[in-house]
């Protein structure tokens, strides 16, 4: 692994990773309807995108779902991780370990189908949830995102010096107080990372949402999927460019904040 071989492979690898994305962005400014033939610079697809009620309303649905399920999954994932790292013995420990990690390897089609069937039978027997829509998507996303949050929270809780919690106990704080005064602030950065990951995963999910959503609630990926299934369409390029722009800005801000935090520590 030396000489020309490594740099060439790595360069090709990055070309492979970025070429499609770059072409996506470039052709979003193409005047022609034919996505891959250059017809001059234009921003007309952005205008069309902003007039597309369906895209806009589904984006709003997606954001609501992502916000709610990221928040809920942080609560459930953190509690699960806390229970597994701090309570050494309780009934059902093995079950909880399995249930919290299994969603990570569960194919989305199975998760989606089984949850839909659960919602249908619950509606038949309990009358809840009445129909499917925002609530059912949020529940489904919370369940699989909680697994990712739990993994992140667990590794942080494990690496955290447990004597911090003991010291607070020793100084007179009760267990609940210790959790809010010490544990939570110490693992907060990991929870923020977990929330962001859950948010992205929820925003990105097509398969599970397709199964558990109802007629009234289409998420953004569902609308995009139905559009691109029929072929390429330039307004999707415009949408992709906007999303990529958002991510870039977010990454730059995060990087800048991290740099500043590091400098402050020094």
């Amino acid at each position: 692994m030396r000489g020309w071989f490594l740099p060439v492979t790595v360069t090709l690898g990055f070309v492979f990773l970025y070429a499609p994305i770059i072409s996506l962005v470039v052709f979003s400014f193409n005047d022609s309807r034919l996505v891959t033939v250059w017809g001059g610079f234009s921003t007309r697809w952005y205008g069309e995108l902003l007039r597309d009620r369906q895209i806009l309303s589904s984006a709003w649905v997606s954001l609501q779902v992502a916000f709610a399920s990221a928040t809920l999954s942080v609560v459930i994932g953190t509690l699960g991780a806390f229970v597994l790292t701090r309570f050494s013995r309780f009934t059902g420990r093995l079950l909880l370990t399995g249930m919290i990690t299994a969603p990570l390897v569960m194919p989305e089609v199975i998760t989606g189908l089984s949850l839909l069937l659960l919602f249908v039978s619950m509606e038949l027997t309990l009358g809840w949830p009445a129909g499917r829509g925002l609530t059912t998507i949020i529940i489904a996303h919370t369940t699989f995102c909680a697994a990712f949050v739990a993994v992140i929270a667990q590794s942080r809780l494990r690496s955290m010096d447990e004597s911090l919690e003991e010291a607070a106990r020793d100084l007179g704080a009760g267990p609940v107080r210790v959790f809010f005064d010490i544990t939570l602030p110490v693992i907060a950065p990991a929870l923020v990372a977990g929330w962001l990951l859950a948010f992205t995963l929820s925003l990105d999910d097509l398969v599970i949402a397709s199964f558990v959503s109802g007629p009234g609630a289409s998420t953004l990926p569902m609308v995009i999927f139905s559009k691109i299934r029929l072929g390429v369409s330039p307004d999707v390029n415009a949408l992709a460019t906007i999303i990529i722009g958002f991510v870039l800005v977010a990454v730059l801000i995060a990087g800048w904040m991290m740099r500043r935090a590091m400098r402050k520590e020094m």
């Binding site: 740099p7 499609p20 459930i76 990690t101 194919p107 089984s114 949850l115 398969v207 990926p221």
Partner: protein, 315 residues
């Protein structure tokens, strides 16, 4: 201070301690109960429903499957369960082929992801600091953009009048476009592209831990760079290879979106079969049976492997 004095003074202590114990215990159970109940209801219970509906028959009604219990004419409860769907899966070659070809496609994609990902991970792990962070960021960055749109990008690339064909034709290398969309090749590309970061990150994490002194020791003892790589680096990075391969193989096996968008009508993958069974044929019981078989054949071994690995890591 007399013993009696100490006792009376300790009585309130004991009372509080007892109450705290009681409260602490119930508080503790509450904390355990929240994630436990959520997952039991929304993760575990669905599988029982899935199993039960896989034993039903499809009917045109709401819901579109036969009930589990029925009142017999004499008023007693009858259990209506049939293994008809499973027999159907066994007899129809479509399903068997779908399972096999899912595994094949996932394996081939994993292999290619490893071949592309390893040099990149190795290069990043050996890069000096500012460059290393930037490269690592560049690997992760695409992951934060929409998965669906990244697959869509390849549609624009691989189409008959897409970027690749247009370029090749204008360069005069080919006269007529090559069919790339709607082939297994496109599916491999899609999977490798989507899951490459999952291969690179664990490999990178493993390779940065590799002690540079080991490589120096090997070359000091007379091993050429090639030999050093195959006798030292590669064996030591095996855990990273296993972790990365699992992270690509597992989601690839149940993949729906990539074969649906990039694959052709004859690209069989089990996730896609399940989806079509549910959304196109509207046969919920057969879809459930497909899911159960997928769970047993594919997911269970992976979960077992995972748990074995976890246990090994813990010890």
């Amino acid at each position: 201070m007399s013993a009696g004095n100490a006792l009376t003074r300790s009585a309130p202590w004991r009372g509080t301690a007892w109450m705290m114990g009681k409260l602490g215990l119930s508080g503790r159970s509450l904390v355990i109960a929240i994630p436990m109940l959520w997952l039991a209801v929304f993760f575990l219970a669905p599988f029982f429903v899935l199993g039960r509906i896989s034993l039903a028959e499809a009917i045109i009604a709401r819901p579109p499957y036969t009930p589990f219990f029925d009142r017999a004419p004499d008023g007693s409860l009858e259990i209506l369960a049939s293994f008809e769907n499973y027999r159907f899966l066994l007899e129809d070659a479509l399903y068997r082929n779908a399972y096999l070809s899912s595994i094949r496609i996932a394996l081939v994609s994993t292999l290619f992801a490893l071949l592309i990902g390893y040099p990149i991970a190795y290069y990043i792990a050996r890069a000096p600091e500012p460059k290393r962070s930037v490269l690592l960021m560049m690997v992760i960055l695409p992951f934060w953009t929409s998965f669906l749109l990244r697959v869509y990008a390849w549609m624009g690339f691989l189409r008959s009048n897409g970027v690749i064909n247009n370029t090749l034709i204008s360069l005069g290398i080919i006269d007529s476009p090559i069919q790339m969309m709607q082939t297994d090749f496109a599916v491999y590309i899609g999977i490798v592209y989507t899951y490459l970061p999952f291969m690179i990150l664990p490999l990178y994490a493993n390779l940065t831990k590799l002690d540079g002194a080991l490589l120096e020791a090997a070359s000091d003892l007379g091993a050429s760079p090639m030999v050093t790589f195959f006798t030292v680096t590669l064996p030591l990075s095996l855990p990273g290879i296993v972790a990365g391969s699992m992270l690509v193989f597992i989601p690839a096996i149940g993949e729906y979106v990539i074969p649906a968008l990039l694959g052709g009508p004859d690209t069989l993958m089990i996730g896609r079969v399940l989806w079509d069974e549910f959304f196109s044929s509207r046969d919920w019981p057969v879809a459930s049976a497909v899911a159960i078989v997928m769970l047993v054949l594919v997911v269970a071994p992976i979960m077992w492997l995972q748990s074995v690995q976890n246990r090994r890591e813990e010890t």
